[in-house]
């Protein structure tokens, strides 16, 4: 798999995912799409990600389901075992908490527990993210949970191109993939529309901006904030390299470590709460592998340790942003 994109007109991330689903369904009639409200009579998904699919590919392959996430993921596991390529939607990541058994005990483990007799090539789409005043049960990031579970792959695009390329890769992957969509990015992230051969390999990050003084690793919407911070820092003469992880499990150790080795300073940013988040794993690996070679301690930036708060000033303060990232970078620059 190579990372290629042919650019044409600009699309949103929502449109890119929609296109990825449509192209995959057109190319492989084993691809199925289902979840709450996903078919056209129900609007093609709450934010329209699956719009047009049921009309084009039929009610057999594109189905709105009852509100029953265990049944949804169970149907995904079973249809994957039966040779299909299900793409199931859990509307918001917080709702995956009612389906964790199916994801963790079954989808993730069946290949191993059956000694490789079976595989579970499913993709689960989940939206999430704070910033839209939806309170404490609609915006959590649990990528750290999924990454901790052997057998799952986890991806978190920040651009339409990557969303397209990763979705196609997830669907073609022989193993279960968690595809995380930031609810703000779906409309906000715009970019060229990739052609149907575009794939982004799972496990490969990308340098979004080159720099030499420090490395900022981010994923999902935090890439936007990291780039904002990099811009502010540039004005101050600090050159930040920004890496978009794109995949969390597996994550691109080589890219992160070589960048951090180059700059000597590493920061990791995520919207999940900082404590026990994925930044901890990356910091632990980097501190280990680059022991004695870094100019400053690895710095982590994450959400505050609380539920997503409702009130706007609290919600804003809860989420990491360009300023907090830039502040962290400034402090790091005082080292070494």
């Amino acid at each position: 798999m190579t990372d290629t994109a042919t650019k044409t007109r600009a699309v949103t991330m929502a449109e890119a995912i929609n296109r990825a689903l449509a192209d995959a369904m057109a190319e492989d009639d084993k691809v199925l799409v289902f979840g709450e409200d996903v078919a056209d009579p129900e609007g093609g998904g709450v934010v329209g990600i699956s719009r047009g699919l049921s009309t084009r590919f039929g009610d057999d392959r594109v189905r709105s389901t009852p509100i029953a996430e265990q049944a949804i993921i169970g149907a995904a596991v079973g249809s994957a075992l039966g040779g299909y390529k299900p793409v199931a939607e859990i509307m918001l990541m917080n709702f995956s908490t009612v389906a964790m058994d199916m994801i963790v005990n079954h989808a993730a483990k069946l290949r191993f527990m059956t000694g490789g007799q079976t595989g579970v090539p499913l993709t689960v789409r989940m939206m999430t993210g704070a910033g839209i005043s939806s309170g404490g049960q609609h915006g959590d990031y649990y990528e750290a949970w999924f990454a901790h579970v052997a057998g799952l792959k986890v991806v978190t695009p920040s651009t339409p191109e990557d969303a397209y390329g990763l979705m196609r890769s997830c669907i073609e992957d022989p193993d279960p993939c968690i595809f995380i969509e930031n609810i703000l990015l779906l409309a906000m992230a715009k970019g060229p529309q990739p052609d149907s051969t575009h794939r982004v390999p799972i496990g490969k990050g990308i340098v979004r901006q080159e720099g030499k003084d420090l490395t900022i690793v981010a994923h999902s919407r935090m890439v936007v904030e990291a780039l904002g911070a990099a811009k502010a820092l540039e004005a101050e003469g600090v050159s930040a390299e920004v890496i978009d992880l794109r995949s969390i499990q597996p994550w691109d150790r080589e890219l992160v470590l070589s960048s951090a080795a180059k700059t000597g300073r590493l920061m990791i940013v995520h919207e999940a709460t900082k404590q026990f988040g994925i930044g901890a794993e990356i910091a632990a690996v980097a501190s280990h592998e680059l022991f004695g070679k870094l100019k400053a301690p690895v710095h982590r930036v994450g959400a505050a340790f609380c539920a997503v708060p409702f009130s706007k000033p609290l919600e804003t303060a809860f989420m990491p942003d360009a300023q907090r990232i830039a502040d962290g970078a400034r402090a790091m620059m005082k080292h070494g």
Partner: protein, 334 residues
């Protein structure tokens, strides 16, 4: 419908008062959202006013209510303070949850509104726990769990009702069946001919009632509450209703049957009950008009109070996570 549970004239007017409050409050809320003075997802309950108004008429302040994102009608009918509700919806420090919960997670301890959940189905298992404490304490309280028709297909529904039935808990499971779960119709998702039928699987009474008919709703609620208080266990009430403004306010309604929606709105239960009360001579128009004016004034005051209340300080992120904020490492906020 048994005559044993017919509300007297005073109770009927009281039910209407709650309905009028709910209707006016929803109208005001939509107005403030439309003008952009408030911003957040809003799940209008307009059209579903009868259900909690009738139920609340048979509850005391000590009885418990657990409800959902579409639940402000349940709270207001139960008596929650308009001021602390509005301040919470506006995310202010005087909100019932200091602005931390918002419209989807309101709580009003004084009125027994214990949990408002944004997770489909989750009001039910928690209501069981509250009902259990009532039973243990022998204080005669009951717990009402509100949820939608869509929620009747999720696992928590099944687990909760079964447990309540085997433990004979004083819970009333109130399914507000508005025919849609988000954009999907009842028929597409629900194998039961009626949700009330599912009660058979738990050997408890299950009734489908016209949730827009205050007398029918009252009778069903009164019977269920009486059973619960008498130690006879839970009841499943399926209250048929309709939501006038879609799933979340601002939805387009392309997924809806237009005729069905038109008919439902034409049969708006609030003016209908109002007319009935007057026609039957239970109350006169002037009394109701005065009542409605008082409600508007009360809402005016609450909105004003809410918008004058300060926004919370960011230091609040550190509080109420644990009882003792010092357990959280300082750099957890870096």
């Amino acid at each position: 419908m048994s005559n044993r549970y017919t509300p007297d004239a005073g109770t009927q007017v009281d039910i209407y008062r709650r309905m009028a409050l709910l209707k006016a409050n929803d109208e005001r809320t939509r107005k403030l959202f439309t003008t952009g003075r408030l911003v957040s997802p809003y799940y209008s309950y307009r059209g579903q006013e009868v259900i909690p108004s009738a139920i609340s008429a048979v509850l005391t302040d000590e009885d418990y209510v657990c409800t959902i994102y579409r639940g402000i009608h349940d709270m207001l009918a139960k008596g929650m303070s308009l001021k602390s509700l509005w301040a919470e919806v506006a995310g202010r420090v005087d909100g019932s949850c200091k602005g931390k919960g918002g419209p989807m997670h309101l709580t009003s301890l004084e009125k027994g509104v214990m949990v408002t959940t944004g997770i489909v189905g989750s009001s039910m298992p928690i209501a069981n726990g509250l009902a259990w404490t009532a039973k243990l304490a022998g204080n005669g309280r009951v717990a009402v769990a509100n949820f939608g028709d869509g929620a009747s297909n999720i696992g928590a529904f099944h687990e909760a009702i079964n447990l309540a039935a085997v433990w004979k808990l004083p819970v009333i499971f109130v399914c507000q069946n508005n025919l849609y779960g988000e954009h999907t119709t009842y028929e597409k998702t629900t194998a039961a001919k009626q949700i009330a039928d599912r009660a058979v699987g738990y050997s408890i009474p299950g009734v489908r009632v016209d949730g827009n008919d205050p007398l029918e709703m009252y009778a069903a609620a009164a019977e269920a509450v009486a059973r619960a208080r008498a130690g006879e266990g839970p009841t499943l009430i399926e209250a048929m209703t309709f939501r006038f403004f879609g799933h979340v306010f601002g939805d387009d309604d392309s997924y809806m049957d237009k005729e069905q929606k038109k008919a439902a709105m034409a049969a708006d239960p609030v003016p209908r009950f109002r007319a009935k009360l007057i026609a039957e001579g239970i109350v006169d128009e002037a009394t109701l008009a005065a009542m409605e004016a008082a409600i508007e004034a009360e809402i005016d005051e609450a909105v004003e109070f809410a918008l004058a209340s300060p926004l919370p300080d960011v230091s609040e992120l550190r509080h109420d996570v644990y009882a003792d904020p010092s357990v959280i490492a300082e750099d957890s906020y870096a």
